[in-house]
Amino acid sequence: MRAYFIRRFLLIIPTFIGITLLSFIVMQFVPGGPVEQAIMQIKMGAAMSGEGGATGGNEFGSGNELPEEALKQIREYYGFDKPFYVRYWNWLCNVVPLQMKYPFVKWPNLGTSYKYQEPVWDLFVKRFPISIYFGLVGFTLSYLVCIPLGVFKAIKHGSAFDAMSSMIVFIGYSIPGWAMGVILLVMFGGGSYWSLFPLGGFRPDGWSKAWDAGRYAWCIKMQLWHTVLPVCCYMVGSFATLTVLMKNSLMENLGKDYIRTAFAKGLGEKVVIFKHGLRNSLIPIATGLGHLLSLVIAGSYLIEKVFNIDGIGLLGYTSIVQRDYPVAMGMIVIASLLKLFGNIVSDALYCLIDPRIRFS
């Protein structure tokens, strides 16, 4: 068993290299990269200044072509003077937290953002709390609602309540969270019907000042006020799958022999269902926890975009749109590592909870 997991961990290395290499190559061939953007900016600047000061004494002549020297400098600044495999190697050496010198371990360096001129890691650290906050609240709430609902549906299988709640669950399944966000904003956030909730954002302006000033009650109220709509959208996504999974898994267990035995030896229905049945039927739900981190951190950029929440997801999205490669690569590194480790953690949890399962 240990050998199996060690092998799985080792297999992460080639997979990780494959993912980052492929993404790196794709990004190299996209037009409108940082070099072109810089050239554009300089040209625009030259044209503007040429219009303003009519003397026209600027060094770029008519401003149509940049001198070779300047181009070379721009390329060098962004590191685009070297072939892409050299750049990939440099990038990889920076990211991998190992080095040949004495401590042999170093903090991974994801580079500096072109747009913000800040280390990528700092950008991430600033936004982690926001995404984690929404992710965790949504996650906890959906588990708190879905598990009891699934259990209740399984116990009352075939009843009117079961049919009704199935209907609601499928309605929830058929609408994407972010699309529901748009209509929620129009209904409750805009001026159309009720102006109950804010139009978006993580916190109102001046929140941290108020917190420092000790107005905790106001702060918490404001925070909750900004949380309601996005969290609804986060929950809608996992609501249906979780409930149905819980229900089916409990139903399956209730038909097994050990439940029959439990009933036969005279245990009460509650004890049988909640002590014997529920425990075993939580296994498939628990293994989903392996991907918890990945869900929480990567967030949903669509929901963040709809609600203008400046989280990790939105950062990744804008980095791609604006060709901010270091940030985009950083996103890919984090997302892929979380996913790869999440897979293994899921399997490990599976083994821990249910010792009968053997991988080989």
Partner: protein, 432 residues
Amino acid sequence: MPYLLKLLIVLTFIIKMLQLLITSPLIAIVVLVVVVGMWKLFKPTVDSPIFQKRVRKFKRLKRGYFSFVFIVTLYILTFLLPFLVTDRALVVYYEKDVNGKMVGEYYFPCVKMYQGKFFNLDGRDKYKSPNYRNLKIKWEKEKSKNWVMLPIYPFSPNELLLLELSNETGKKVKAVKANTALSPEKKTAMLKVLEANRFPPTKPNFKSNILGTDDRGRDVFARLIYGFQISISFALMVTTITYIFGIFIGSLLGYYGGKFDLIMQRFVEIWSTIPFLYTIIIISSILVPNFWLLIGIMCLFKWMGMTYYIRAEFLREKAKDYVSAAISIGASDAKIIFKHILPNALTPVISFAPFSIVANISALVSLDFLGFGLPAPTPSWGELLVQGKANMLSPWLAGAPLGAMFITLMLVTFIGEAVREAFDPKEYSRLR
């Protein structure tokens, strides 16, 4: 007359399809391959009695079955949209002056373009396709023998109605101003309401645009219904192609196993960890995406899901006796994979298909919402949602696409639920 019309509709439909296939050989090849591939793949499964039994079970599940019938009918009807929802008239009867004698003839603008001067129109309409709605009103007012037969819903998805909206409001404003019976306060209030509707987005109005217009003055209902056709076609194509590809790869992985399986699994893992939407954003910022390119990109990144299921099914089926029997009589690998094992491994494919369609429709809408989907004038739900978010005071803009999406996806989900129950039944035994 109706008989003629029917014939006309069928003929133009066939001609249009043929035209499409001839002008773009690539599409023709793709369609051909998909149809033949599906037929070959599913023929043995469909013929088996157990499949027939499951179909009968599916038909008994009323909610799913009716959703299925409804959506399929609606989708087939959308191919007649050029005759149902369009600004071109179906039939025009027009009398022309031929050597001093008035000769009446029938014209079919829905099939052939006519310039305005053909119907003796002047000014703005002289060289472009006439506005048949106005033509109808004009001829009715003149009480002339000419007449226009408009389609059921006489607006096109890409038609700009700015001028018409403004003119209509202008007429109403004039009428209110001329009305002396009204008190001045009431007049100003009424004028205010009217003026608000002069410029798009305008409110839903049961007499003309039943779901209102969007912020560029295009009819929302027309865009919605054309968007439905595009979404469903897109989801069907993507689901079919990814399934064929996924089934193929998955069956190879499961059947051969070993080193091949290990290496290919890593490849699949790499491919599926690359953030799909990032890649699609990157690709669509290089190339201007069209319908087929978008299908291609989606297929490139969505085929992995099915491989896992098919691989697992193959691993299970491979150990069974009938496979050993097939091997021992010397059947070729291809024959064992496609003739023997695959028909038994297709259950997950069939029961997951509706849910994949739901996912693909949502994916297209979200791409359109981000602005990386179909190019600009194409009617799409995601684009309407963008407008809905930008114009919060016009709730019909977000409500209409969301309602459409909600109904469509819910119906497909119902189908999926019924299909799963019919094809992958879980018998639960209860003790108490």
